[in-house]
Symmetry: C2
Subunit: 397 residues, 2 copies
């Protein structure tokens, strides 16, 4: 039994001050429902991923608010920081599979959203810090830029990587975002733009922005997708890993072992290897994390991910192309973050996991226009916090 994604919806990501979170949820889910050729009343259940509407907007108990907006009478909310909506996807997939094995073909809607720009930056940073270890990290003043700066500094110390390798990730992702009309930053950047220091060695353009946005997916069985006559891709598998939340307690500081565990489990189940993947959306909340994600997903050995980045060299060529820029791994192209990634597409945290899958589905279905890279097999790697949670998914035509 195969689960199919038959619809995707995504809002523009950015500072959307003229819209509230309900507008965003409605917009992305309506898009997803429309391009699935179904109606809202055909949906049996909804899984909604959000990190913290409680502190961003005073609202806990999000599920029944979704019921009010969309009329779906079985809504479940998940939270796993920046991995909230890919957890929602995993649970929706499980429900579709279980129902199907019991003889029912069901339709589930997955929604991710976050409305983050209505607070002053300091407040937002403080809210986001809740995804790190409160009692040992937050309480000592740590923020996500500072935690990822620590990882970046240590990575540079332990490897032959340098700051330019970090920046190249940002340059590539900004370039890709130029081709994505839903992206927040559609602006080329160059090495010389990496001047403003945020938390050494991370510069402003090594950091993803504070964003608003929502992304949605419609799931059913492949069998039912065919009956509906829907265009679809197969969600081959998605797996979850959780690990230490605090960096101090992490087994190996520079290894995302939750992501490693999740991806290894998926590779094993699907009898797949990293080199079989043509395109992946990874969690570049900070440029260093694109490198750590590539290592965790098996595209490079531990502490050697930066060498993949160097396949972009000379970096100045990046902005000369009017198409996404692949990395080259043993002569094979790997497209990473064709959407622009969190860095340039934007990072409304609860929406990010679903948005990564939206990009991969649309790439597989050839719906990305100039951005399309014609993959056969795509993947996503979504991280919560500094790696406490990870999900890894594989999708195919």
């Amino acid at each position: 039994m195969t689960v199919a994604i038959i619809g995707t919806g995504i809002t523009k990501f950015g500072e959307l001050w003229d819209k509230n979170w309900e507008d965003l949820v409605f917009e992305s889910s309506l898009d997803a429902v429309k391009n699935s050729n179904i109606e809202f009343e055909d949906i049996n259940s909804c899984y909604v991923g959000n990190m913290n509407l409680s502190r961003f907007g005073g609202q806990d108990h999000i599920a029944p608010r979704i019921t009010e907006i969309l009329g779906i009478n079985k809504v479940i909310r998940t939270e796993a920081a920046c991995a909230s909506s890919s957890i929602a996807l995993k649970l929706a997939k499980d429900e579709i599979e279980l129902s199907s094995l019991k003889g029912e073909e069901k339709i589930a809607l997955v929604i991710g959203f976050e409305k983050m720009t209505d607070r002053v930056v300091g407040e937002t940073t403080s809210i986001l810090a809740g995804a790190s270890h409160f009692d040992t990290e937050v309480i000592n003043g740590a923020t996500f830029p500072s935690l990822y700066a620590l990882l970046a500094a240590r990575y540079l110390h332990e490897t032959g990587a340098n700051e330019e390798d970090l920046h190249a990730v940002g340059i590539k992702n900004h370039k890709n975002a130029m081709l994505n009309e839903k992206a927040m930053f559609r602006k080329e950047i160059n090495l010389e733009d990496f001047k403003i220091n945020i938390a050494s060695p991370l510069k402003l353009f090594d950091c993803s922005p504070i964003s608003d946005g929502s992304a949605s997916l419609v799931l059913t069985t492949e069998k039912y997708a065919k009956e509906l006559g829907a265009d679809y891709v197969k969600l081959e598998d998605i797996e979850i890993g959780t690990s230490s939340i605090s960096l101090a307690k992490r087994k190996e500081l520079l290894v995302l072992d939750s992501a490693k565990r999740a991806s290894e489990s998926v590779y094993k189940k699907l009898n797949l290897k990293p080199k079989d993947i043509d395109l992946i959306e990874v969690h570049d909340c900070f440029t260093i994390n694109e490198i750590l994600c590539l290592e965790a997903a098996g595209f490079a050995k531990k502490l050697e991910g930066y060498k993949i980045i160097r396949s972009l060299m000379p970096y100045e060529n990046i902005n000369k192309r009017d198409a996404p820029i692949p990395y080259l791994i043993d002569g094979k192209e790997l497209f990473v973050n064709t959407s622009g990634g969190l860095k340039a597409k934007g990072h409304p945290v609860g929406a990010t996991g679903a948005a990564q899958v939206v990009e991969v589905v649309n790439q597989l279905l050839g719906r990305c226009g100039k951005r399309n890279v014609n993959p056969e097999i795509g993947a996503t790697l979504n991280i919560g916090g500094t790696g406490g949670t990870a999900t890894f998914s594989v999708l195919s035509k």
Copy 2:
């Protein structure tokens, strides 16, 4: 394929200032694991329900903190206000079933917890209000006592019920709590104690307390439970309903239609009737809600639930018995909230759904001492907010 609950754990509920939330989670889950005759390393996944550690304790992204405490590498957090941990139970059941249909016998741990007493009461009330409709209720100053007072006032207006009928619920539940060593309030109360007004017509003793606590459950398949030689009960079914979160948008003000939908779905699937149930734990966050729950679960017609309460009359007899007090419905005994209910056992909101199930499991297994009422079939009805979310479960020997 039947899902079995093979272990339960629950902390004392109350003002537990000498313990932090991690202590509570560890205590209840260790108890559950111990009485399942398994080890933590036998657990495949964990579902943790919590309403708002973010605002009570600064911590989002709870799942990987559970990984740090218990060593389980697949943890998923659910949130549905006061129904958070029964959503966790539903998802755990789905995973056990799905794995089993795919040929694997898995073990899942369900944890619910909340640590609410470390804030001043006004802050706690404000945090809890996040489970109602922020933009129309919270923003106008509504709190849960005021919202339930509105329901109670309207109920008294539309029916023949009076304030004494509300108070009788509290008297019974306090009496039951006398027999539960884990309960927060083990103190008899009488009609004359209902003097302090909170939000008319609700008096202080019509309201459940602010509490700390945690409850845990261990689930596996019945087949595997037998292999393990574990004592178990069958989780026959659990279903979720969501509905309008705002009272103003509710279809019928005095009908918990999310709960009605969830219970009707379960009754239908199990070919069961309310009269088949011997014992139920219902969501008496305020005494009026025990009555609304009894109606929603089909024990009484709409607006006639208060007549069930009157089967306790004369109320002064309640405190003369040294055993739980049943309602009488058409001559049959129905035990409701033998644990003491939210009213007297306590209501650490994220723990409540799991705690209700703990009571029913222990009653079915005859582990409740003097409190035992020897049921064959038990149920739970857990409500989030004023009814935006509901879960209904049925368990049997």
